[in-house]
Symmetry: C2
Subunit: 124 residues, 2 copies
DNA sequence: CCCAGACATAGACGTTTGTCAATGTTTGGG
DNA sequence: CCCAAACATTGACAAACGTCTATGTCTGGG
């Protein structure tokens, strides 16, 4: 029950294989699809934007449950998906768990989709 | 030339609501998630790249079935998803159906994910 | 006029996914 | 030392999804 990260890192995919340049291998496509699946959900998109827009650019579960109208376990589940996908960082301080965007993660995901590869990629 | 699209156009979402700026509404998140779901599949990612990389930047179903190792109905199904999402154009010429990328569609999808809204998007 | 080929559609089936209720785990305070 | 609060985990269930087989639809050629 390892919710492991993928073998291929995101930068491996992002910096070398623009989607429209050449046919994707089955493996590369699988890695990319797994990343995109993490984003391709209304609740998780809202979570990402709520965390980013929250004061201090971080938020705990209790901040997110009520505005979404979902139960705490459901919110925790989605947050775990986003953390496993490398999009959110989890920082436990005391009883609270604070989540924040991983800098550049969304940008490098987006970089795979654009036609021309970015001149200076995000060297985080 | 309108293929059944979602109510909110992509540009509506892309140009005005960067993901990290403010919390997404449930409606906006649903529209965005639907678009991303179309991409968040290994087969469809490979289809997009194969179409883009094919000579003439277009391909028919018969070009795509064998390299994917999937049946023709399955490939047709995925292509329909991509057309409905506004990512592929379908052009039937004679017995063949040729698919090509909708110019700028992937780019505007990617634009929603990046932190800063694109001032002048393309001209590097 | 009919046949073959390219593609779409319909139906079926196993797998994955999003959600919840119930329960476990950890932390700080009295 | 134990309780309450915040969060994670488990198990269950309906809905959505990806794939297949079978069949329908359209086009060009003989």
């Amino acid at each position: 029950m390892i919710t492991t990260r993928t073998e291929l890192s995101l930068t491996d995919v992002a910096c070398c294989a623009p989607l429209t340049r050449e046919p994707l291998s089955a493996e590369t496509a699988a890695v990319l699809a797994q990343r995109l699946k993490a984003i391709a959900d209304p609740t998780r998109l809202r979570l990402l934007s709520m965390v980013a827009a929250h004061e201090g650019a971080e938020a705990c579960v209790c901040d997110l449950t009520e505005p979404l109208g979902l139960t705490q376990p459901t919110v925790s589940h989605h947050l775990k998906v986003l953390v496993d996908a490398g999009l959110l960082n989890r920082d436990k301080r005391g009883v609270w768990a604070y989540f924040a965007l991983v800098p550049g993660a969304l940008d490098s995901l987006a970089a795979v989709l654009v036609s021309q590869s970015p001149a200076v990629p995000m060297s985080v």
